[in-house]
Structure formats: structure tokens, C-alpha cells
């Protein structure tokens, strides 16, 4: 079948969306942006294809007369199994890379100790992997780098201590290797991994039956043809696409938000390094936009620094901040000094949740200024970008929107991080249809 791909190469994450001819979203994929844009695009697209397969599975299964609860349970199990397969594959790759690293001269004098330590770390990692993907388990993030990274660091600390090795050393081996692993384009056949996952599910006996297997096989048989691709995002200038395949992220975000909520008139997007306020008309056409200036204070990356500083996952920040009753007043949102400010205030005895709540408020205050610059908020208002996933940020935003613009509809889609990619995919679909609407090729 024909598919249309939109890729949003953000400063922090790269997102891909696959649309079908009926403008239905087939799949979404995300990965962290990295030094190699090409790889990031490929990984994100592949993730979107994987997601699309699950959509197709669901469609195939749904067309039969299976019990929907059962189907969902099966698909859930299949997805976990698939993710585990993927994880283990990457883990093996990482281990190989790590072991190669320590062959270098820098490690020669340390002898076999390091190699043994690394093998031990990975043994433990593999051992606990299934638990990470057990039903109901929460993971620090969905990216290999983050999951593997945080566990590696924790395990390595103990292993290093036991082996009498410097912890910094193991840390460094990891840092070096993860880059290599991340920048290797995805390899291997997807269908192999699906089959391996199927096998795993069969073993686990989750009520899978032959109808299910056949449906999955049928869905796997459908060919996904990449008809047209449009790229957008921060890395747009360096995107590995030619000019007619590129649209400005402003237009994509505007259009994407319009597709999710056709009544949208104002869009706020807070990404990793930029915050945008966009006004669109009833057709999703951009009327006005403003972005943060050259200072990246108060963008998503700011939360990243804070999370690093607190050794927490990004998605844990919001819930903690929600516990605050009395947000601290924080005036500087300089991303780089965020950590220092945090320490300063902790040292003064302020509570973690209050500081965090204050930091979230500070980010939203800045975003409010950018919206104000772009012309304020008119009904409806749609919040997109990675930070829209953060409930504490959303809470502050809602409060401030009401205070400043009255009761307007505020839309936040759980998939809001894909807004730009969705818009890009729609541009791709229109381009393929020869409707080069609004944008010159």
C-alpha cells in the first residue's frame, strides 16, 4: 500500500509519521536525534514502520471475530516481546563494541580486569532485561540509550567497586561505545524480529491461537511502499533530503495541529531548543509565528539538564513537581545554570518539588511571552512538542492561559510530540497528489 512519510528532525528527538492514502496515521516512530542525521531518520522511519505493522495487525485481527480484550492482550504481549528482542539485539551490539573499545592502548595496562567487569555488567543487564519488558513495568524512557545507559551506570558502579576498578573508566567505555552503537544504521530484517517475537509469545502461552498467527502473517505480507517523504525540523538545513522534500517546521507544526484539532487557531510548541508560538487560520495555514531568540533558556533541554542533575528520568520530573504546594520563584531559565540554581536552592533548604514546580513555571512563563509576541491566544489553543507530555508544565500552562486569555479550549494530544511529523506527512501526501498547495517545490 502507498504510504506517506513525514520526518521531524528535532534537536532532541527525531519523529516519523506514516500516513495512508486516507490520511489515517498508520504508525509513529521516535528516536533521539544524534550526530548522524541520516541514521536518526532511518531509525525513526523504521520505528514508524514497526508501529504501522502493529496497526495493520490490529486491522487484520479486528476484521475477524476475535474478542477485542483478547486481541489487545495478545498485541500487548507481542509488542513487549518485540521490544525485548530489539533491546537484546542492541545490548549485544553494545557489549561487542565495549569489548572492542578496551582493546585500545589506553586500557592495555589494566589487563583483563576491565574486560571481565564489562562482561559481568552485561550479564547482569541481560538477566534483568525481561523484567524491564514485563507487563506493567515502567521504563525510564523508550530509548535504548536511556534505558541501557541508566542501568549500565548503576550496575557498573557496584561492579567497579567490587573489582577495584575506577568507575569513571567504565563510564567512559560506555560513553564511547553508545555513540558507535547509536550511529549504526538499523540492520537485520524486521520480519525476523517479528517472528522471533511471535515465537517468544507462543512460548509464554498468552492465549495466542492460530487465527492470530495467520492474521499477523497476513499483515506482515502487506508491502509498505514509501510513496513520498517530507522532512522538517531543526536539523532541516542538514537533513539528508533534497529541497523539494523539505518544509519549514513552522508550517508543519501549524498543519499538524490543524489536523489533530481542526478548530486550532493558536499553537504552542516547546521542543528541545526552541519554543514557537504559531497562529493558524481555519485551513491550518500559518498566519504568524514567533520563536525564542538565540538564547535557549527555558526550552525542553532545560528540563533535560534538570533531570540529569537529579538523576531522574524526564518523565519523572512532572509528577514530582505536581506534589508541590508552593512553587519557588525562579527568575533565570538559563539552561546551563539550571543545575547550579537547583543546587543553590537545595542548599538553602528549599524542597525539591517546590523548586521543580518553580522551574516548570519559569519555562511556561517564557513560553507565554512568546505566545504573546506571536499575537496571543485565540480559541482553540493546541499545545504540542515534547514538553506537552509533562503534566506539571501543562498544569502551569492551563493556569496561565486562563488567567491571561480567559476560558479557551486547550488541546493536548498524547501524541503531540509527533505534530510536526504529522504535518510533514500530510505535506508529503499532498505533494504526491500533485497538490503542491502553499509550497513551491
Amino acid at each position: 500500500m502507498k504510504t506517506f512519510v513525514g520526518i521531524d528532525l528535532g534537536s532532541t528527538t527525531t519523529k516519523a509519521v506514516l500516513l495512508d492514502e486516507k490520511t489515517q496515521v498508520l504508525g509513529r516512530g521516535i528516536t533521539n536525534s544524534r550526530s548522524n542525521y541520516d541514521t536518526a531518520c532511518r531509525v525513526a522511519s523504521q520505528e514508524a514502520v514497526i508501529d504501522a505493522r502493529f496497526t495493520l495487525f490490529r486491522r487484520e485481527l479486528g476484521s475477524g471475530d476475535g474478542d477485542s480484550g483478547q486481541i489487545e492482550e495478545f498485541l500487548g504481549a507481542l509488542e513487549r516481546a518485540f521490544r525485548l528482542e530489539q533491546f537484546l539485539e542492541q545490548l549485544n551490539d553494545l557489549e561487542r563494541t565495549c569489548l572492542e573499545q578496551v582493546r585500545g592502548e589506553r586500557f592495555a595496562r589494566l589487563g583483563d580486569g576491565v574486560r571481565e567487569a564489562i562482561t559481568e555488567v552485561f550479564r547482569q543487564l541481560r538477566e534483568e532485561a525481561p523484567a524491564l519488558f514485563a507487563p506493567g513495568a515502567t521504563r525510564k524512557s523508550d530509548f535504548f540509550r536511556d534505558i541501557a545507559g541508566s542501568r549500565y551506570l548503576t550496575i557498573a558502579e557496584t561492579v567497579a567497586r567490587d573489582a577495584g576498578l575506577p568507575y569513571d573508566l567504565l563510564l567512559n567505555v560506555y560513553d564511547k561505545s553508545i555513540i558507535a552503537v547509536e550511529n549504526r544504521p538499523p540492520s537485520g530484517q524486521l520480519s525476523d524480529k517479528f517472528h522471533a517475537a511471535l515465537k517468544r509469545v507462543t512460548r509464554e502461552d498468552t492465549g495466542m491461537n492460530e487465527t492470530f498467527r495467520e492474521a499477523v502473517e497476513r499483515a506482515l505480507g502487506i508491502e509498505l511502499e514509501e510513496t513520498y517523504l517530507v522532512g522538517t525540523g531543526y536539523g532541516r538545513v542538514t537533513l539528508p533530503f533534497s529541497k523539494e522534500h523539505i518544509r519549514s517546521e513552522i508550517l508543519c507544526h501549524g498543519l499538524g495541529a490543524h489536523m489533530m484539532y481542526p478548530g486550532t487557531r493558536t499553537v504552542l510548541d516547546i521542543g528541545g531548543q526552541d519554543t514557537k508560538g504559531i497562529q493558524v487560520d481555519e485551513n491550518g495555514i500559518v498566519e504568524n509565528f514567533q520563536m525564542n531568540d538565540r538564547c535557549a533558556a527555558g526550552c525542553g533541554r532545560y528540563l533535560g539538564y534538570i533531570a540529569d542533575e537529579m538523576n531522574m528520568g524526564l518523565h519523572e520530573l512532572g509528577p514530582l513537581a505536581m506534589k508541590s504546594g508552593k512553587p519557588a520563584r525562579i527568575n533565570s531559565t538559563c539552561t546551563v545554570f539550571a543545575g547550579a540554581e537547583l543546587r543553590d536552592r537545595l542548599a538553602l533548604g528549599e524542597k525539591r518539588e517546590d523548586i521543580l514546580a518553580g522551574l516548570h513555571r519559569a519555562i511556561i512563563l517564557r513560553a507565554m511571552s512568546i505566545i504573546s509576541r506571536s499575537g496571543g491566544i485565540t480559541d482553540q489553543f493546541t499545545f504540542t512538542g515534547g514538553v506537552a507530555k509533562n503534566e506539571a508544565a501543562v498544569r502551569e500552562l492551563k493556569k496561565l492561559v486562563v488567567e491571561n486569555y480567559g476560558e479557551v479550549t486547550i488541546n493536548i494530544d498524547p501524541d503531540s510530540i509527533y505534530t510536526g511529523a504529522l504535518g510533514a506527512a500530510e505535506f508529503a501526501r499532498r505533494a504526491a497528489e500533485g497538490r503542491m498547495e502553499g509550497v513551491e517545490a
Partner: protein, 281 residues
């Protein structure tokens, strides 16, 4: 004989030192350094301090003066506090008596200090607001490149065509660097580029406080980074009317702790002489 401890609580690490001072001698008994990694610095300070005591074979009550510096103002067991530039100037003087200027390069701020032969601060200046030239930034980039702290300097020295980092902001500079990697710029050239941009900021600081042709000692966390020291010398050489030379010392990282301890001893003796005896803790 006066026994004094110096505790330097930084943003990157806690450093401690114990000195015995008297008869015109300054004897360095023990030292410790602990990186602050997601741990309460005050706890770490205690831990480092205990270790230093143990190494010196002393007990807390043996000490005449416990001096803090850096962010150690709120350490409960201190006798007195010296501001960090006061301490670094004295510490650098101890490490090399020829020193007439100090460049303290820490995790977030750079500080340039002009001193006299007694370690007296004559003039100084700190880097402002923006953090793109900070140790923290370099550290982030190095981690991103997969390079260990102690490799940075050596790699930077191998650069043949350093790539300038243009951004004023550390966050944007991070993107710059990511772009460089994707353009195939080598790690040495990237690191050297960062070093040069940091060095140029620091050189400006030095020049603006009138460094002249002094011997400049680098202290603080980045003192070990020979790449930065080399870049500093390159940048200073470009400035007309400045003929300064930048050096480092293996113990530079302790400069703050050393200075605090020595000033502590000095203060103790002075107060003792005037009859106002102090008791540590």
C-alpha cells in the same frame, strides 16, 4: 605550630587540605578530593575532611582553624570562611611563588586574579552570565564525544585545524558541536575549538585586569587540562601589550583548599597574637 584545614566546596568537586605552619615553614600534611556526583556536597565535604584528617593522623580537635572557601559558607564545623578568589590567589602563590596572576577555571565560572608576591588579591574579574565557556560545557561535550576527562587535553593538543565554536550559548553550542560531528570534524579539532573559545574569553578577562607580563597559574578543575593551558598561551600571545605565560601545576586543583588552610593559619596566628584566641569548631 599552627594546624589548619582548608575545605573547598566547588560545583564540580570537594577538595580538602591540611597544613602545619610555623617557623617560616608551610607543611602540607594531607589532601583529598571527591567529585560531586548527585550527592549532597555537605556530606561529601565531611567525608573528604575525615579522610584528610585520617591521612594526616590527626583528630578534628587538633586543628586550630578550619577554613572553608567556595560554596562552603554553610558548612557547620568551620571556623571562618574565605572567598574563593582570596583562597585561590594564596594557593597559587604556594604552588609557585613566581605566580603573579591566577586563572581559576571551575565548572561554571572563570575567574582571573592579579596577585602580589604575598598572595594578595590586587584585582580580579569573573566571567559573566553565559556559560558557553565553562568547564561544565566542556565536560558535557566530552561526554557526548565519548572522551574521558583526562583525555581531553591530550586530544586537543593534536588538533591541526581547530573548528571555531561560534555560539554564545552553551545549549546552542552543543548543537553546533553535533553538527560538527556530522560534518566529520575530528574530536581533537572540536575540543581545540572549544578550548580556544574558552581561552579567548579568559584571555579577555586577564587583559582587562591588566595581566601585563605576569606568570599566570591556572587553578581549579580545569587546571589539569593541558589543552586549555596551551590554548590560553596561544590566545594571550595574540594580545598586544601582553607577554604573560600560563602554567599549571599538578596540584592546581587544590589551590582553593590550600589557600583557605594557609589563610586560616594566618588568621589564627594574627588573632592569637592579639589575644583573641579562637577555638576550632
Amino acid at each position: 605550630m599552627t594546624l589548619a584545614a582548608g575545605i573547598d566546596v566547588g560545583t564540580g568537586a570537594v577538595k580538602t587540605a591540611i597544613f602545619r605552619v610555623g617557623d617560616g615553614k608551610e607543611e602540607w600534611l594531607s589532601r583529598a578530593t571527591l567529585r560531586i556526583r548527585q550527592r549532597d556536597p555537605m556530606e561529601l565535604a565531611r567525608e573528604a575532611f575525615e579522610r584528610t584528617l585520617e591521612d594526616a593522623g590527626l583528630k578534628e580537635e587538633d586543628l586550630d582553624y578550619i577554613a572553608t572557601t567556595g560554596e562552603g559558607e554553610s558548612i557547620p564545623f568551620h571556623t571562618g570562611h574565605f572567598y574563593s578568589m582570596t583562597a585561590h590567589a594564596r594557593g597559587a602563590q604556594f604552588l609557585n611563588p613566581e605566580t603573579r596572576a591566577v586563572l581559576d577555571c571551575g565548572a561554571l565560572h572563570g575567574r582571573a586574579i592579579i596577585t602580589d608576591e604575598r598572595g594578595k588579591v590586587l584585582k580580579y574579574k569573573m566571567t559573566s552570565q553565559c556559560a558557553s565557556g565553562s568547564g561544565q560545557f566542556l565536560e558535557n561535550i566530552a561526554r557526548y564525544l565519548g572522551i574521558a576527562q583526562d583525555e581531553i587535553g591530550k586530544l586537543s593538543l593534536q588538533a591541526d585545524d581547530p573548528e571555531a565554536v561560534s555560539s554564545i550559548c552553551a545549549v546552542l553550542a552543543e548543537t553546533d558541536v553535533i553538527n560538527m560531528v556530522s560534518r566529520g570534524i575530528s574530536a581533537p579539532n572540536i575540543l581545540k575549538g572549544i578550548h580556544l573559545s574558552m581561552a579567548s574569553r579568559l584571555a579577555r578577562l586577564l587583559k582587562s585586569i591588566g595581566v601585563g607580563n605576569s606568570l599566570v597559574m591556572v587553578t581549579g578543575g580545569l587546571a589539569k587540562d593541558e589543552g586549555l593551558v596551551a590554548a590560553m598561551n596561544e590566545e594571550l600571545a595574540k594580545i598586544k601589550g601582553v607577554d604573560a605565560k600560563v602554567i599549571s601545576h599538578p596540584d592546581s586543583i587544590y589551590a582553593g583548599a590550600i589557600g583557605a588552610a594557609l589563610w586560616g593559619a594566618f588568621r589564627f596566628d594574627k588573632l592569637a597574637a592579639s589575644g583573641q584566641l579562637l577555638k576550632a569548631s
